[in-house]
């Protein structure tokens, strides 16, 4: 069992999202929330109570959800368009492309319970393609915060940022990794741990697992660099190239298919700039079996032990 231990305080990042959104909305009347019958699952009940007129619930209608967001932005609002990530992205992908990205509207897309957070509800409710889908559309920033602090910072950033952004949040508990007061910078990785033998690049719910893997590797004398790469697009090319050159091997970890997501984005930079051995960990191109998110992450080789084994195997293949 390599999932977070009971001793850790775990945070549901949705709380950081709504606390930040509410405090910003109290200062800025233009901030509105739009949801698809997801007031509870998006944790917007507090927002609804404080700003009833500024919570627009279009019902179970995701195409209209995103279209309405684009229209609100046209009228000068700063809409945070919230929904389960699987429906927000899959059901309304063309609205994201045409109404938000191509139209360059100031819409904040908030994918709640992303990845395999809905675990045993099954693959219909998993959102393990959204990095790939949205990364392929021009003009949308893609951000997957790793903890409560980064979530709050990214939400604050999104409200100030002029343009489309997709925030990919989870409901699966994660420990705090970043210091209080951390500021989010789009396109910048966070060096959480330095090392010269191998680099692990992760985001979202995988970053804390990567940190634990680095501890396991350290016990065996392997010095691991850990980069938290919340910003999948734009991506921190400089940090990736430096990691490739200075550590010679890169493992990526994501709660997403290995096709087209963080691992692919890192590989694009590595192959064109500083080719080194890589291993992409993620959902291996299958519809996952029944299980919780933490069970499935372990199952797909992303327990701290699993990540550490992958990293040490990769190091052995270095020429």
């Amino acid at each position: 069992m390599n999932a977070p231990t009971a001793k850790e305080t775990l945070h549901d990042c949705r709380d950081a999202f709504t606390e930040t959104l509410e405090s910003m909305a109290a200062e800025n009347n233009d901030i509105v929330a739009v949801c698809n019958d997801s007031v509870g699952s998006s944790k917007l009940t507090g927002f609804r109570d404080r700003f009833p007129d500024r919570l627009i619930n279009v019902g179970i209608a995701e195409q209209t959800l995103v279209g309405v967001g684009a229209g609100l932005a046209n009228g000068g609002k700063i809409p945070f368009v919230c929904g389960a990530a699987c429906f927000l992205t899959g059901r309304s992908l063309e609205q994201i492309k045409a109404d938000v990205a191509y139209s360059d509207t100031n819409v904040k897309l908030v994918g709640i319970s992303s990845g395999m957070a809905y675990g045993n509800l099954g693959p219909t409710h998993h959102s393990t393609e959204d990095f790939a889908w949205i990364r392929a559309i021009p003009n949308v920033a893609v951000v997957a915060p790793c903890d409560n602090v980064e979530t709050a910072a990214a939400v604050a950033f999104a409200a100030e940022f002029r343009g489309p952004i997709f925030l990919r949040l989870s409901r699966v508990g994660v420990p705090q990794l970043l210091p209080d007061g951390h500021t989010f910078e789009l396109g910048k990785a966070n060096l959480l741990r330095d090392g010269s033998d191998v680099t692990i690049i992760a985001n979202g719910t995988l970053t804390h697992r990567a940190m634990k893997a680095a501890e396991i590797l350290a016990a065996g004398g392997i010095e691991t660099r850990v980069l938290n790469m919340a910003s999948v697009r734009p991506i921190d090319e400089e940090a990736i190239i430096a990691a490739a050159k200075e550590t010679g091997a890169i493992v990526t970890c994501e709660e997403h298919t290995i096709f087209g997501g963080l691992g692919s984005a890192v590989a694009e930079v590595v192959t064109e700039n500083a080719p080194v051995l890589m291993k992409r960990l993620g959902v291996p191109g299958i519809f996952p079996p029944t299980g919780s998110a933490n069970f499935l992450l372990d199952e797909f080789g992303m327990s701290p032990d699993g990540i550490a084994t992958t990293a040490s195997d990769l190091i052995k293949r270095k020429s």
């Binding site: 195409q63 279209g67 009228g75 109404d99």
Partner: protein, 277 residues
């Protein structure tokens, strides 16, 4: 802003826009001329009688919003925007040319006066619902208008938005359905017959009017603020003809995006010029 045109001037303007649209499609060798001819009277009434928009200040926060959801008839919008002064009239010559900002579908980031990028059908109405909600939140007086095709109403997203607009009592939103009875490949009635539209919209809680979409007096009257029903979004079912104004195109499914030959162009232009007399 200029004064509103009377209906006689509007008819003249619509004829002028038809002629320029025909020429643009002929010269570009592409376009959606059938649906352009059906919507031009509506566009003319909106831009020269109804919309509070200012070419000198295209992003005025208090402007009325107009969304051409049937974005494939962009050429008609470009010609109308040029006549209104949003873009230079001579720029119409660049329609569909490499690097022209006058693409086959309108782009708000490039063409002043365009509010949202349309093309895939069923997008404009949800966006217009968001616009109308925004005005309601601010207690602002501006109005949102959206034109869809009748075939376009087959897109389910429209019916999501129709339900939302009624729920939010968006009486600052007007949907105009360009009901020309023809879609790309066949008649609406032979494809997925949503007609009649009025009872369906009424059942959702909309205030519906039915008009002859080529009768300028009826168009102008239907768009009058006096026709707004408090608490209800408004729908105008505009009965039109695809290819209207050109005898061999009118109500002919073949002219969805066909390009006239030189001979057909000459005849079509002669018919429009004669109608202008």
């Amino acid at each position: 802003m200029e004064t509103e045109m009377n209906t006689q001037d509007l008819r003249r303007m619509a004829n002028k826009i038809r002629q320029r649209d025909l020429r643009a499609v002929f010269e570009a060798g592409a376009g959606h001329i059938g649906g352009e001819m059906s919507v031009i009277d509506i566009l003319t009434a909106l831009y020269f009688h109804v919309l509070r928009v200012d070419p000198a200040n295209p992003l005025d926060p208090q402007r009325d919003r107009f969304v051409l959801s049937k974005g494939h008839t962009a050429c008609a919008l470009y010609v109308t925007l040029a006549e209104k002064g949003f873009i230079p009239k001579e720029e119409i010559e660049t329609f569909l040319q490499p690097h022209s900002r006058l693409n086959g579908h309108p782009n708000r980031t490039k063409v002043p006066g365009v509010e949202t990028n349309t093309g895939p059908l069923g997008h404009g109405l949800p966006v217009a619902v968001g616009m109308a909600l925004s005005a309601k939140l601010d207690g602002a007086p501006w109005h949102s208008f959206v034109v869809t095709g009748d075939g376009e109403m087959q897109e389910g997203s429209n019916w999501e938005a129709i339900a939302s607009a009624a729920h939010y009592k968006l009486d600052n939103l007007t949907l105009i359905i360009d009901h020309n009875r023809l879609q790309q490949g066949a008649r609406l009635a032979e494809t997925n017959n949503l007609a009649p539209f009025a009872p369906k919209l009424e059942a959702f809680g909309w205030a519906v009017q039915e008009i002859d979409g080529h009768n300028m007096d009826e168009i102008v009257a239907a768009l009058s603020p006096e026709k707004v029903v408090a608490g209800k979004p408004g729908c105008i079912v505009a009965h039109t003809n695809k290819g209207h104004g050109i005898s061999f195109m009118s109500d002919n499914v073949a002219w969805h995006h066909k390009v006239p030959s030189a001979e057909q162009y000459k005849q079509a232009m002669a018919e429009l010029q004669e109608a202008a007399q």
